[in-house]
Amino acid sequence: MTLAVINETELVIRAQNGERNAFNELIRIYAQGVMNVIYRMCGDAQIAEDAAQETFIQAWLHLSSYRLQTSLRSWLYRIAVNAATDILRKEKRILPNALEDLQLKDPQPGPEAILSQGERTALVQKAILSLPDISRAVLVLREYEEMSYHEIADALDIPIGTVMSRLNYARKLLKDKLEQKLFLQVEAENV
């Protein structure tokens, strides 16, 4: 039997028993997701990788507290979100002064104000980073990791109702920030 066909539970049990190769396999499975979550939270790829390493070290150290009945992905993402939040607290420089940055020179959209793809994604990225941490975490897990509300509730240890309200809030803030410039441009492109 190869490692690929051994299911996740077996890998976790083996890792809980101190088997480093089994934990290594779990890292391979979840590395991309964890790095992605942290990157979406903090907006810096290098810092996201460092924080992802820290996430897996913490997971290794506390693996005995992980309960097999729960989702490992949710458990890892919880550690990842906490790691990202810690980093954001320590390194405030990562976050742009989003609200100011988002004000473009020309508030009236017109052909001259059409943004390049790069500018557009930068603007969206900044808008995401300007969200409060708790709302951004919910948005990231939903939009980029496509987790269900139930999984998000598990990962962040909050009720499903709170997931809904935070997601509503995050989307409303983003819409308010991006609507004027980008929505009209998207519409123009789709015509």
Binding site: E25, I27, F56, L63, S64, Q125, E143, L167, L178
Partner: protein, 202 residues
């Protein structure tokens, strides 16, 4: 027109609504252009969010190797699962130990009592505080009071001796045997369940 349902649109877009709630939102969207426009905005927003690409991260294999190097080497912990498993396996060992201890105590007690009755331990009997009267004082009292006599007294003494000396020992052994049988029954149930699970997985 009924009240706008903007607070439910996110959940609707995410496919999180079910049953009556889903039906209400769908019905409302048919007749309310404001909420339809709001839903359209949310869809556009989702599209914009997905335009932001993820950077090229270190490949998972290399990343895993990097993390492995940083994992603490001295970690020799026993997981909770392992602790429970070890504790579970120690139960029959503990029961066996208790049985050996009780049996040995009983046999040694009998040997010493017999030796004492034969006068072989006269020099230390005081220290050991042996004496038949301590075992059958109720029968002796009844005999002295004239309530029991002859065969009745003998039977009473024998019954009292058995009750005081052997019954606790037998009760303890039965308890240990019952606990051990229970452990075997649980172990067998778990074992069968695990085999069944493996067959299903297979």
């Amino acid at each position: 027109m009924s009240k706008h349902i903007t607070e439910w649109l996110s959940a609707y877009l995410d496919g999180e609504l079910r049953g009556n709630q889903l039906h209400q939102v769908e019905t409302h969207l048919v007749e309310c252009h404001v909420c339809r426009a709001e839903l359209g905005s949310l869809e556009k927003l989702s599209g914009l969010l997905h335009e932001v690409p993820a950077p090229e991260f270190t490949p998972p294999e290399r990343f895993a190797a990097q993390v492995k190097l940083r994992l603490p080497h001295e970690r020799t912990f026993i997981s909770r699962t392992q602790m429970i498993e070890i504790g579970w396996l120690m139960i029959p060992v503990g029961l066996l130990g208790a049985w050996v201890f009780i049996s040995t105590s009983f046999v040694l007690g009998n040997i010493l009592a017999t030796a004492n009755n034969l006068g072989l331990l006269s020099s230390i009997s005081g220290w050991l505080a042996f004496g038949p009267s301590s075992d059958i004082y109720l029968s002796a009292t009844l005999g002295q009071a004239g309530i029991l006599g002859g065969n009745g007294l003998n039977w009473a003494e024998a019954t009292e001796t058995f009750t005081r000396m052997s019954l606790p020992h037998i009760s303890l052994q039965i308890s240990i045997a019952l606990l051990y049988l229970s452990w075997i029954a649980i172990w067998w149930t778990r074992h069968t369940h695990q085999q069944h699970g493996q067959l299903l997985e297979g």
